[in-house]
Amino acid sequence: MDAQEIIARRVARELRNGDLVNLGIGIPTLVANYVPAGLSVFFQSENGLIGTGPIPEQGLEHPLLTDAGGRPISALPGASTFDSAMSFGLIRGGHVDVTVLGGLQVDAHGLLANWMIPGKMVPGMGGAMDLVSGAKRVIVAMQHAAKGKSKIVAKCTLPLTSVRPVQLVVTDMAVIGFPDGKATLLEIAPGLSVGEVMAVTDAELAVSDDIPQMKI
């Protein structure tokens, strides 16, 4: 199982029946593939759809039915479409139960930076800032480290996406939460020791005596 699959499988276990879920691009998109059997959730695409379905069979794509990246998708029975004011009303208004987003950095207080690298990557924040400000639960799905550098940092050096902390970070190595506003190691990936995770984590993590293994 590769790193991305570990992350996506673990995030999928956070979903509850009936949840309205918004998945960002990249690893978060994969979460839809691992929704536990018997669980029924609504996926929102912020370009104006609840009830996104899988990529349609070749030849059945419709040019007016795409995901937020402009790629063809399908819609499940019971889907609904709406304009962007409604779409972000749902997001900002707390109607989205869970959003799963990629991250560049998450810091010891749960603050996320995921939209800009000054001087390098300035693509615009799209819907990220609204999702982090408004969704009931924000889950960051990302690699634990990039090019050997921890993405779980003491304090974000990149511009913040929001001053509201995220609720959970799921990486290929660990699950980190923020009870009482403090980064806390909740689970570690199979085959890893707490020491190994700590060694590649820049932020200080609260650790209890008995850290369970990530459920994937």
């Binding site: 370009n47 104006g48 402009g70 962007s84 004011a85 972000f88 997001i91 693509p123 615009g124 924040m125």
Partner: protein
């Protein structure tokens, strides 16, 4: 509402105009109007559009033709040409959160001076903006956004100008149809009055100034 040819409609748009363009990554974009803007080489445009689409697609064609001098958008990451023109300071780019973008346009169309949003508080987005507390919670004051023209793409348009939209091609079109001095519409299908049931009309006819006729010949 008046039905006009695409050449006539675009001829009304002066160089340097401010223009809202519907669509999300090219989906729901009035592409025929964009092609005609390029053909008539309307330069120095102020474009208000969710994104810059891709080179060769939707709004992207305006960047290919270097007709844009100012862009208000939420994301241009997938159009390297728009990014290059931004980094070369050929175009001034204002990047704003998508939920703020759509509320500012809605405010412009609905006669509101602005809205208070929690989005962007404490981030780079807050720079230069008024922060207002309500019940002890901080919000940014985001002001109304309007344009001289809105280019809107509908799925169905009837002879009066009533519009409906399909699937994810609705996106910014209905709010933009309220927020510009002149609203110009292309539609996938032009249909008789009554084909769109009253409950399914999304943009009522009186909002539409010009409907582009079907291509002749």
């Amino acid at each position: 509402m008046r039905a006009v040819s695409i050449e006539e409609a675009v001829a009304m748009i002066p160089a340097g105009a401010s223009i809202m363009v519907g669509g999300f990554m090219g989906v729901g974009t009035p592409w025929r109007l964009l092609d005609e803007l390029v053909r008539q080489r309307k330069a120095g445009l102020s474009i208000i559009s969710n994104d810059a689409a891709l080179p060769g697609k939707g709004v992207g064609k305006l960047f290919d033709a270097e007709l844009v001098s100012r862009l208000t958008a939420t994301h241009i990451g997938l159009n390297p040409k728009a990014q290059q023109q931004m980094l070369a300071k050929q175009i001034a780019v204002d990047l704003i959160p998508q939920g703020t973008f759509v509320e500012r346009i809605r405010a412009g169309g609905c006669g509101l001076g602005g809205v208070l949003t929690p989005t962007g508080v404490g981030t780079l987005v807050a720079e230069g903006k008024r922060q207002i507390e309500v019940d002890g919670k901080p919000f940014l004051l985001e002001t109304a956004l309007r344009a001289q023209f809105a280019l809107v793409h509908a799925f169905l348009a009837d002879y009066l100008g009533n519009l409906s939209y399909a699937l994810t091609a609705r996106n910014f079109n209905p709010v933009m149809a309220m927020a510009a001095d002149t609203v110009i519409v292309t539609a996938e299908h032009i249909v008789p009055v009554g084909v769109i049931a009253p409950d399914h009309v999304v943009t009522p006819a009186p909002l539409v100034d010009y409907l582009i006729t079907n291509p002749s010949g």
